[in-house]
């Protein structure tokens, strides 16, 4: 593979990660906490309705988790990209 191909593969993989993580982001915040909130409120966890919990607590926890997952995925991808570059140079 040439450097260009590799960059393209790297970018494609990155877009794939972005697609999946942003889908989760959208489903949790706009789905669970806004569009389906009344439906989810029928399920109770302690004093919370599930929809209310997502709206005021859960979505924020998911946001934090999403960023750290992306950080890990990209660090791994960066490392792989780096080593394959180095092998080529040798």
């Amino acid at each position: 593979m040439t450097g260009n191909d590799k960059n393209r593969a790297y970018w494609k993989k990155n877009l794939q990660y972005l697609g999946i993580l942003l889908a989760v982001w959208f489903i949790v915040s706009y789905g669970c906490a806004i569009l389906f909130v009344d439906f989810l409120d029928k399920i109770r966890i302690g004093g919370f309705g599930l929809g209310f919990w997502f709206a005021q607590q859960g979505s924020i926890y998911v946001f934090v988790a999403l960023i750290f997952i992306y950080v890990c995925l990209m660090n791994r991808l960066d490392k792989r990209h780096d080593t394959s570059n180095r092998e080529e140079e040798e």
């Binding site: 960059n7 970018w11 004093g47 919370f48 709206a55 607590q57 979505s59 946001f63 934090v64």
Partner: protein, 568 residues
């Protein structure tokens, strides 16, 4: 010791700390002044970003707003945190790789246009000024309520402190002072929240106590009790939504997209050493923000329950001391309409007339007193509110001074300015900005509060699409981006101005386009921006090869070089 004495102690100690940090970390070059020499570790940068982001509005107003809005308060909770996901995934790493100092730098280079750069500079200055005025006002309120100094004097003390460390320390000084301020503000927010959670639910973690049972042995859940109390007094049930679903959707989106487009947040990601550090520092920032943002709704519910329990149907002569204190500031008003000497606090669904008006902003500040916490906690909250206001004000002032000294002077007007000259210009600009912000704080134009909320919509409709497309779509050219920004921002601003300033009496859901309030219209403005910029771009010439190369370069994983020197 009295509340006032404790407040002096807490505020005094925290101010001494900030000044000490500022002296220890002052800037000696423009690189240090603008982006702290790009040498800030991600965790530290995350903490500083969190303090930068959480303003007087987050600390003082947000829980109060939520406690009056119930479930719909989620628009702020999600809107002001979800944007960080977009920032970490779609913006921060690429802007760091691009590696210059400011958002206008990126817009100007990517769209090879001086017009685009100047428009971006003006937007950045406008957004920052409206914001900073609100912060100075927050400083004034805290000083006048807790330290009994005049609002004017309070604002001037705040200006002095910010001037000292922003002008002296630049980004480097601000970053390390913000770390100290984050520690003060989060401690000040959590201590009363934990106390109240323990008192009311017996659970030490407010986030859990929020959904737990009351500690009075009744076995009733806190939220059920709150719903019951609210409905009894003619308010809507706390955990029910009141806004239309579409409106909640659009407001949340406008706040999220706006957060990701705000210049004073984006600029923080230039201060880290590597691209990977830009990603992780966004994660740290959101983690530190989430600590406060998941506590806030709990505080809101506790405060609301306490308030309904304490004041409703109490004899006016028997009210607790905090009630009288806030009454003298005019933020609580009691009007005994039926003349029975009792306070009737009622909602819209009640037959009985409501006699009490409470300013939402006081809920967090009054909360420790309402829950009868010790005096030192009250003093601590005052110091925390000041930390939140000052840290945000300093970050914004830096954006203003950078915009003027770097984007306008260095890049446009006096291109051969020396580094030393630029540094002096940046400091003078920061100094002038402090004075103007202070003036707005003492004598606020009535529209400041409203404009701050709309700044998000405007940022969402203009900056956000231009930056996203600049990174993710190589074919986007200058004509497309500029026409998109113009359509997006004029549509959004027009809608807001129409409903807020020209025809405020029409500002009801029946007249709104698709039922979207002016707060949420920025999302539609952003959609329009995309709808205009893409076809226009396709119909005009593609960007020149060197710009396409620039895009390839910011996407590729090869590390960004050392921070850019000034000779760009």
């Amino acid at each position: 010791m009295s509340v006032q004495a404790w407040t002096f102690v807490m505020v005094g100690i925290s101010f001494a700390l900030y000044i000490g940090v500022a002296i220890w970390s002052r800037a000696s070059s423009t690189g240090e002044f603008y982006i702290a020499g790009a040498g800030v570790p991600p965790v530290v940068n995350g903490m500083a970003t969190a303090a930068d982001w959480m303003s007087a509005a987050s600390f003082i107003s947000m829980a109060g707003l939520i406690s009056f809005m119930g479930r719909d308060g989620s628009v702020y909770l999600m809107g002001w945190t979800g944007g960080y996901v977009l920032l970490a995934l779609l913006l921060a790493p690429y802007l760091r790789k691009f590696g210059k100092y400011t958002v206008p730098d990126f817009v100007g280079d990517r769209y090879y246009s001086r017009t685009a750069r100047i428009v971006a500079v003006i937007c950045a200055i406008f957004v920052s000024f409206t914001y900073v005025a609100g912060q100075m006002r927050g400083v004034g309120i805290v000083f006048s309520r807790f330290l009994n100094v005049d609002i004017t004097l309070g604002v001037m003390i705040g200006m002095g402190i910010v001037f000292f460390y922003a002008v002296l320390g630049g980004m480097k000084g601000i970053t390390y002072t913000q770390v100290a301020q984050y520690c003060v503000l989060i401690f000040a927010y959590l201590v009363p929240a934990i106390f109240i959670s323990l008192l009311m639910t017996g659970n030490i973690i407010p986030q859990l106590g929020f959904g737990g049972e009351l500690a009075d042995g009744s076995g009733e859940f806190l939220l059920d009790k709150l719903n019951g109390l609210s409905q009894e007094l003619g308010f809507d049930a706390y955990t029910d939504g009141r806004k239309a679903t579409i409106d909640v959707f659009f407001i949340t989106a406008a706040l999220m997209l706006g957060t990701a487009g705000l210049p004073h947040v984006i600029v923080r990601f230039y201060t880290v050493p590597r691209v990977s550090a830009a990603r992780s520092s966004a994660g740290w920032a959101l983690l530190f923000i989430a600590i406060l943002y998941t506590t806030a709704p709990a505080v809101a519910a506790f405060a609301r329950t306490n308030l309904l329990n304490t004041v409703s149907d109490t004899e006016y002569t028997e009210v607790p001391g905090w009630f009288k204190n806030w009454e003298t500031t005019g933020l609580i008003k009691f009007d005994d309409k039926n003349g029975d000497g009792n306070i009737q606090y009622r909602g819209a669904h009640s037959q009985v007339e409501n006699e009490l008006t409470i300013d939402r902003d006081i809920m967090v500040l009054a909360n420790p007193e309402i829950a009868k916490l010790p005096n030192w906690v009250v003093g601590l909250v005052a110091a925390g509110g000041l930390a939140a206001a000052l840290s945000t004000a300093a970050g914004l002032l830096l954006v203003i001074s950078t915009s003027i000294a770097h984007d306008l002077l260095k890049r446009e007007l006096v291109q051969d300015i020396s580094e030393k000259g630029e540094l002096i210009a940046a400091r003078i600009a920061a100094g002038i900005a402090v004075c103007i912000a202070g003036y707005f704080g003492i004598d606020p134009p009535g529209f400041v509060g409203q404009v701050v909320a709309f700044a998000f919509g405007l940022a969402a409709a203009s900056f956000f699409p231009a930056i996203i497309m600049g990174i993710f779509w190589k074919r986007m050219n200058n004509v497309g981006a500029i026409s998109g920004m113009i359509v997006g921002i004029s549509f959004t601003a027009g809608y807001i101005i129409f409903f807020k300033f020209i025809n405020p009496e029409m500002n009801v859901p029946a007249h709104w386009l698709f039922g979207i309030s002016p707060e949420g219209i920025g999302t539609l403005g952003m959609v329009l921006n995309f709808l205009v910029s893409v076809p226009v771009s396709l119909l005009t010439a593609p960007p020149p090869p060197d710009v396409q190369e620039l895009v390839d370069n910011i996407r590729s994983p090869q590390e960004a070089g050392p921070p850019h020197e000034l000779s760009v």
